[in-house]
Amino acid sequence: MRHIISILLENESGALSRVAGLFSARAYNIESLTVAPTEDPSLSRMTLVTSGSAEIIEQITKQLNKLIDVVKLNDLNVSQVQHIEREMMLIKVKAPVSARDEIMRLSDIFRGNIIDVTDDAYTVELTGTSDKLNAFIASFDCDSILETVRSGVMGIARGSSALHL
């Protein structure tokens, strides 16, 4: 099963490579990983998407917790927790005159923003679940997509429960 794991990490050089190294050394999957400093500059917040059986996910969270740089961690996909996930995508598509209306229509339907326009290409900014971003990509044929860039998933628990010190 797919799990989103939120991690508070010491904002130290090398902390990221400890997490990445753990996943490769123990042959765990990483689907995506995002990391940036928090409002407290000594801490980074990482969101990691992985998948595996219940036993593997348990080992993953235990092994992550064991890393000295990991301050705190939450698995957002456990039954007690409801969560929200978001991913951002910038997608650049070919925009010949004949296709522009359709691109704008699609962008509207998916609540995207067109953030760059040139003679032959549009760039759309889109936020949502990974599924939504995938669906948007699927509505174009491969040939018309020039470039996509995705942030990777960020997640947060619903309600007042929060991952902080």
Partner: protein
């Protein structure tokens, strides 16, 4: 106090009460060496190879319970130390390894003797640090010792660029007696509810067995383990790493379990209904085929590291905590429940009696029997005699191979921290340098290094270190002219094709020992074994290298082959059992 980085290191090691520093100099650590010499704060032991520095620090740590400390230079010094760091990591041994690094200004430029030490060591350390500012040095050193020695212990590398130790840059220094880290708070107290639940299960067991490991030794929990096991009158077996935590000579001890464990230990594991795993990590050399492991057992697991629990085998009652703490709590609860200390506390006394009857039946196989009447020397016999002559009171280190298994099976350790070997990584070359650390820590105790002609040659240069520091180690070389353990596997699983497992051009070990200034002996008859050992141990201030020419194709039995269950051991063929 204003000190340079190098002086801080010297002063800190003194303040931290470090007794020995094992190291080897080089460009990146010259400031440190200069400061060490002038401060005269710790005793520095000059090894002959950086791998030996880490193994010696490791041997010191294993035999004392204190943190071992090594110092090596950047680049090749650091890479040479990696095997020792990994060895300590897999056996959870507290080490602090200080590695020199090129100056911060040139890090990343492929400077002379630069390697990414933090990157190279990352997968085999508990944690590592790169010191980027001399102002952080003292605190980082303290953190390193704290992390290495608490929780599940392990090696910590502190990488120190040369400019950080510059003698001309002085900063204030104070020693921090303790430190806190927000991201590191190892649990030591077991959960009371889990402990109660475990006890309940134990008291209702019909066929219980304790399976104990290195965690008991690391936790210094030998005394509480003995009290609990005796209070319950349960059988107990131990992993290779836990030997000595419970006295081997005690009636309740079934011997080692696992691939080369005893028949009774492995059969008890297979048939048990309540397995009490204590500071052991369900290693594949212990479990054999996982699907056949303890098929009928409810499993209790006490371990300080949550990630050890349910890693390979799902357990029923996990208890995260320090072994000594948890066992002591169990003893206290038992004291409250029983009216007198001699009252039986188990619920089904007759079942336990039957269980012991069954175990005695298994014991009758006498699975460690071997033919003692051969003229050529049996390695098992040498170890038994070693026990006899040292009265079981020696510290025994070993290398890796058949000789290691013979030492584990036949020495019979009655005390913890007496048996020092590389179990997890299985590092040939560990034995001699580890023995140096042990001998330094216990100058008045007999120290034996049980080795093979393959392993000893992996760090043979340390004979020079032993001469320099007058370490009277007794090297017991079980010389079968084969990489015996490899040969055994080739005999069993490759139809006897001995690819590269023979030893050719073996040196004359007697002359070799003598050339370093030590005493050498060669013994090739069973009848001479006892006298040779007596003579060697009588030379209390000399290193003696005894080259025992042993039976060439001796095998280690019992053996559980890969893919087999615990009950599917192969025992020595009858022809052997006279």
């Amino acid at each position: 106090m204003e000190l340079s980085g190098a002086e801080i290191i010297a002063q800190f090691l003194k303040d931290e009460d470090v007794e020995y520093l094992f190291g080897y100099p080089g460009g990146a650590v010259l400031h440190i060496y200069d400061a060490l010499m002038r401060a005269d704060s710790v005793k520095h032991i000059l090894v002959r190879h950086e791998q030996a520095a880490t193994h010696a620090a490791d041997g010191y740590a294993r035999s004392t319970g204190r943190t071992g400390v090594a110092l090596v230079t950047s680049g090749p010094g650091m890479t040479n130390a990696v095997t020792g760091i990994a060895t300590a990591y897999l056996d959870s041994i507290p080490l602090v390894v200080l590695t020199g690094q090129v100056p911060t200004a040139v890090i990343g430029s492929d400077a002379f003797q630069e390697v990414d030490s933090v990157g190279i060591s990352r997968p085999c350390v508990k944690h590592n640090f790169l010191v980027k500012d001399v102002k952080d040095l003292a605190e980082t050193l303290k953190k390193a010792f704290y992390v290495a020695s608490t929780g599940r212990p392990g090696p910590v590398v502190v990488d120190i660029p040369k400019n950080i130790t510059d003698p001309n840059i002085k900063v204030p220094y104070t020693y921090l007696p303790s430190i806190e880290m927000r991201s590191y708070n190892p649990v030591t107290k077991g959960h009371p509810f889990q402990i109660k639940k475990a006890l309940e299960l134990m008291l209702n067991a019909k066929k219980p067995v304790f399976y104990t490991g290195g965690g008991v030794v690391l936790s210094n929990a030998s005394a509480s383990l003995r009290s609990l096991v005796q209070r319950l009158n349960f059988p107990i077996t131990s992993t290779l790493m836990g030997l000595g935590a419970y006295a081997s000579s005690d009636e309740q001890f079934l011997g080692m379990l696992g691939m080369h464990g005893t028949y009774e230990a492995n059969m008890a594991m297979h048939d048990t209904d309540v397995l009490i795993a204590v500071g052991a990590r369900f290693d594949d050399r212990v479990t054999g085929h996982l699907e056949k492991f303890c098929p009928d057992a409810k499993i209790i697991h006490i371990d300080i590291d949550p990630s050890s629990i349910s890693k390979t085998v799902q357990v029923d009652v996990p208890i995260v905590g320090d072994v000594d703490d948890v066992l002591t709590t169990m003893l206290e609860i038992l004291k409250e429940t029983a009216s007198s200390a001699n009252d039986s506390v188990v619920k089904d006394e007759p079942a336990l009696k039957d269980w012991w009857k069954q175990i005695k039946q298994w014991r009758k196989k006498n699975c460690l029997r071997y033919n003692k009447k051969t003229k050529t020397i049996k390695p098992q016999f040498v170890i038994e005699k070693l026990h006899e002559i040292t009265k079981g009171d020696a510290y025994v280190t070993s290398d890796v191979g058949q000789h290691q298994m013979f030492a584990a099976q036949y020495y019979g350790f009655d005390e913890p921290r007496r048996w020092v070997n590389s179990g997890g990584l299985g590092t040939m070359g560990f034995g001699l340098p580890a023995a140096m650390g042990v001998q330094l820590a216990h100058p008045d105790k007999p120290v034996a290094c049980v080795t093979g002609e393959g392993s000893i040659q992996m760090n043979i240069q340390e004979l020079a270190t032993c001469m320099q520091y007058q370490l009277p180690i007794k090297i017991i070389n079980l010389n079968n002219r084969f990489l015996g353990m490899v040969r055994q596997w080739q005999e069993f699983f490759y139809e006897g094709r001995y690819a590269m497992s023979y030893m050719d051009s073996i040196p004359d070990f007697v002359k070799l020992a003598e050339s370093y200034g030590h005493v050498g002996m060669q013994i090739d008859k069973t009848s001479d074994v006892e006298d040779a050992l007596k003579e060697a141990f009588a030379m209390k201030d000399k290193l003696v290298f005894i080259d025992f020419i042993t039976n060439r194709e001796e095998n280690v039995y019992p053996m559980i082959a890969a893919g087999k269950g615990q009950h599917e051991m192969e025992l020595a063929p009858d022809s052997e059992l006279v």
